[in-house]
């Protein structure tokens, strides 16, 4: 499925999640979100995320009840929150950074911004690996975080932070060279090996989504 199509579905679900504040409607929207999750085969990962969100949701629930809202109203608020988070996840869990980049391009986001964004995402795991190696190296030289008062502990961060900054700077220097050498920004109109194209399937999907939105809006509002 075209990522733009998924974006549309997610946006619809997101809008519905925001729109309603009574229990049966919120439950219905949440069910739709879970259905979308099931269809896109990400239910497991979605469930994991929902468990994490669930903790936060339980927290909201408890707070709401203690400050005197009714149980039903609190439950509605909590489920609504869950549905908002899940609907956006339906898009992000099914979309690779590559597809996200294509969607952003299609949305006419400035090229430099898109490139900076994708490069950042691309190098997060690399930098995390650097960080863990730095920590290993300094612990091997006798650095202990557990000891000392808060101020000495804070000072202990510099053996980690300085190499982290240096490594990141060296890497970004390499990246800057590579960006030049690989011709970034040469043409004012860069192309793409794969242009996003709607298939018949995607078109019918969009039609269904639009119709469903209209029908649901009608049903839920009147």
């Amino acid at each position: 499925m075209d990522p733009r199509c998924r974006l549309l579905i997610a946006l619809m679900l997101f809008a519905f999640s925001l729109a309603f504040l009574d229990l049966p409607k919120v439950v219905l929207v949440l069910a739709l979100v879970i259905l979308a999750g099931t269809l896109s085969k990400i239910l497991r990962r979605l469930a994991k995320l929902q468990i994490l969100t669930g903790i936060l949701v339980a927290f909201i629930l408890v707070i709401n009840i203690t400050i005197g809202y009714s149980v039903i109203y609190s439950l509605t608020l909590s489920l609504r929150f869950l549905s908002i988070v899940s609907s956006t996840s339906v898009f992000f869990l099914t979309t690779s950074p590559d597809e996200l980049e294509q969607v952003l391009k299609w949305l006419r986001a400035p090229r430099d911004v898109v490139f900076a964004f994708t490069t950042a995402v691309r190098f997060v795991p690399v930098l995390m690996l650097d960080l863990s190696q730095i920590i290993a190296a300094q612990r091997s030289r006798g650095l202990e975080f557990e000891k000392g008062n808060p101020i000495t502990r804070l000072r202990k961060l510099s053996p980690i932070l300085v190499p982290m900054i240096v490594t990141a700077l060296l890497r970004s220097n390499d990246l800057a060279e590579a960006i030049e050498v690989r011709g970034y920004g040469v043409s004012k109109r860069p192309t793409s090996i794969y242009e996003l194209k709607f298939s018949k399937y995607d078109w019918s999907c969009i039609v269904i989504v639009v119709l469903a939105t209209a029908a649901l809006t009608f049903l839920l509002i009147y």
Partner: protein, 271 residues
């Protein structure tokens, strides 16, 4: 008492992954020099990280100088096990070269740190840079500074990850001498390295890692002449070993001049 003992050690980074160490059993004595070789991802660094307790085995036992690593902190083990990782930029952070050496000395409460630092910098030919920032040094010098900073606190076991990378001919010779004299003082040295020619000249015991297991363990002239093992571990014969294998010599030569003598041992050369 041995310096390092691995007893049926298994380790994996996460439950989704294959074991990075599989049933590793090996004993390394005091004063031994050991070269650890194998392709990238074979478990060499994972093995090294077990020696000072950065990693603890999932199954099995690691003992360092008779102490179970599970019972000790990384800091306490590191007092006796100096590990220097491959990339100097992952550890250099001080404002001056001498402070960089002092860092470990102070962490381990070594006496007379200033004096010790000065001496070790002199040994490594870095004394003239002592007030300079470590990052202003050349690649080779940074690497030497890292090694110097571990030698300074005088551990009993030294573990070096790719120590010859970026070192020129002269520095490699000095490194070789350093490791030999280190072991003559009864201290253990472990070198994780791809540098076959360097290891051949050093003449250590060799552990070959492949897919998390120890594939071979023995003297360098036995292991490095075994084409089958080296092939399986994605290694290459050092040239002198390859020569010996191809000419059918039993004892491979250690140096080029030794090889030359052997070539000419055959009678009847028109000299």
């Amino acid at each position: 008492m041995s310096a390092i003992e691995f007893d049926h050690v298994w380790y994996r980074y996460s439950s989704h992954q294959d074991y990075a160490l599989k049933d590793v059993t090996v004993t390394i004595g005091k004063g031994e020099i050991v070269g650890v070789v194998g392709p990238n991802g074979a478990g060499k660094t994972t093995f090294a990280k077990h020696i000072n307790g950065l990693l603890k085995p999932d199954k099995g036992l690691v003992k360092v100088l008779g102490r179970d690593t599970k019972d000790e902190s990384v800091a306490r083990l590191s007092r006796d096990v100096g590990i220097i990782f491959q990339n100097p930029h992952h550890q250099l952070f001080s404002e001056t070269v001498s402070e960089e050496v002092l860092f470990g000395l102070k962490n381990f409460d070594v006496e007379n740190p200033g004096l010790v630092a000065e001496r070790v910098l002199e040994d490594f030919g870095l004394l003239q840079y002592r007030e300079k920032p470590p990052l202003s040094l050349s690649g080779g010098e940074k690497k030497r500074l890292c090694i110097a900073s571990a030698i300074a606190w005088d551990p009993k076991i030294l573990v070096l990850d790719e120590p010859t990378v970026g070192q020129d001919l002269n520095n490699k010779r000095q490194l070789l001498d350093l490791i030999v004299s280190w072991s003559q003082r009864g201290k253990t040295a472990i070198l994780v390295s791809h540098d076959m020619e360097f290891l051949w000249a050093l003449n250590p015991r060799i552990l070959v890692f492949s897919k998390g297991r120890i594939l071979a363990d023995g003297k360098v002239d036995v292991v490095f002449t075994d084409e089958e093992i080296l092939h399986e571990a994605s290694l290459r014969l050092p040239q002198l070993a390859e020569l010996a294998a191809k000419l059918g010599w039993k004892n491979p030569p250690r140096t080029p001049s030794e090889a030359a003598k052997r070539i000419l041992e055959v009678k009847g050369w028109p000299m």
